[in-house]
């Protein structure tokens, strides 16, 4: 049986995953126009420049929305249900899809402050940015 889903790391997002593996959340910023964006892309969503740099961010934010998922698309995740899939709005002004972890994840509410932690995966070289209630 196939394992839990892992990212297929590519030249566009290699730095993102390298940062996560070291416990650092990094976003792309456009050197030409300054736009900060997520998810990582080949070009800037503000001006289409390919001159992008990686900047570390605070990892602090608040919950924009969430769902307690009981039926994951990839059934290899069934041992973890209900999984709190959430969108977190970072202080820096981007929103990301993530997961809220911790024994108190059933207390998640909209607007709750959260901070990033890095979760081990089935691949020792890959860590996933997830969030805990702050």
């Amino acid at each position: 049986m196939a394992g839990k889903s892992l990212p297929v790391i590519n030249p566009v997002d290699r730095e993102y995953w390298a940062g996560a593996a070291k416990g650092e959340l990094r976003l792309q910023r456009c050197r030409a126009c300054g736009v900060l964006q997520f998810f990582p892309r080949a070009a800037c969503t503000g001006c289409l420049s390919s001159d992008l740099e990686w900047v570390p961010v605070s990892g602090r934010g608040k919950v924009h929305t969430f769902s307690l998922c009981r039926v994951p698309r990839n059934r290899a995740f069934m041992d973890e249900v209900p999984i709190c899939v959430a969108e977190v709005e970072l202080e820096e002004g981007v929103r990301m899809v993530t997961r809220i972890v911790g024994d108190n994840r059933d207390q998640v509410t909209l607007g709750a402050p959260v901070s990033v932690v890095f979760m081990d995966t089935e691949d020792a070289d890959i860590k996933l940015p997830v969030f805990e209630l702050a």
């Binding site: 839990k4 889903s5 892992l6 990212p7 297929v8 790391i9 590519n10 997002d13 736009v35 900060l36 964006q37 997520f38 998810f39 969503t45 503000g46 924009h64 929305t65 969430f66 769902s67 307690l68 998922c69 009981r70 039926v71 994951p72 698309r73 990839n74 995740f77 973890e80 249900v81 209900p82 999984i83 899939v85 959430a86 969108e87 709005e89 002004g93 981007v94 929103r95 990301m96 899809v97 993530t98 997961r99 909209l110 995966t121 996933l128 997830v130």
Partner: protein, 383 residues
Amino acid sequence: MLRKKVCLVGYGSTEYSRKSDRPLLSYYAEAMQNAMAQTGITKKEINGFSMVTQASPDYSPYVAEQLGLELDWVLNGDCGGAGAVCAIRRAADAIEAGYLDLAFIVAGNAFDKNVAHQRVLEYQRANYVDVYGYGGPNTLFALVQRRHMEEYGTTLEQIGKIAVSQRHNAGPNPQALLRAPMTIEDYLNSRLISDPIRLFDCVMPCSGGECVVVASEERAKQITDKPVYLVTDAEKIGFQASNMLPDKTVTGMSVVGQHLFSEMSRDNIDVLAIYDDYPIAVMMQLEDLGYCAKGQGGPFVDDHDLTFAGDFPVNTGGGEISVGQAGLAGGMLHVVEALRQLRGEAGERQVKAAETALVTGIGWLSYARNLNTTAALILERRS
């Protein structure tokens, strides 16, 4: 913009099934045969053809070879659930430009193991969503619905009324896979899939096919005495795509609606065929189309009867959530139901004096947003 003399002249549907080992191509063929029987068009006359598909082997030229079609115009229809509406728009463009006077537009799904039905997840979905153990579109719509409920006080009873009304509409529809009566309690008690999305919010995948025939007015008059005209149409793709803090509850349909209803009053629409992969999607589209203010979809639903006999008939054949979703034929199903109503062929579920219909298509769930593709048509029966 108003269309110049483009008509929808017929349709063909197949039986839907939850379990079938029929090849996908046989569904395409049957839907086309049924449309040929209805319109009297022979196979040799078909010179325009579009497949609406996400399954890569099913590109239009491949299907043309399989089905023995010799063509002057093909289109591979993309845009996901909005694909049927978008393909009709492209065919209308070609007809107006004079390159085409007849097109068969086809979509379908089967559990045919020889075809890659399930698109490989695109990069952003694979690397940035699926890794967290999300539940596919069920979770993506749950994230939207949670926001709608919390921001506007929308209740499960209001959202559920849409599902219950559509199930009522499916009762007299022999094509629908889910026809047994459903109460609001049934809806509320259905098991949670990805909270707050529950089982009776979700479409059921099935096999089946749909075909719609588009023609120039001149050709239409030779084919049918019930021509349905394309009045106006619009699409919005990539709504909020560069906004890193997008509004979860507003969709591109807000822009589409402005285009459509600058040409005809929304109050003149008799039948609404609103793409319904989830009831919350129907509610948000009604808001974005301007039938009520953003966030007032709940009270709007409370105040109206959405059944085929009601004052605001929505998804009169049961929609995808009661009929079943045969892949991208889900988008075509809404066009076909609108044609049945406007041609007076809807049987027991016929809406009285149905002359105009709105058909929407939505699809391609975008990262941290909602719908990447939104499109709609206004259709009118003119005798």
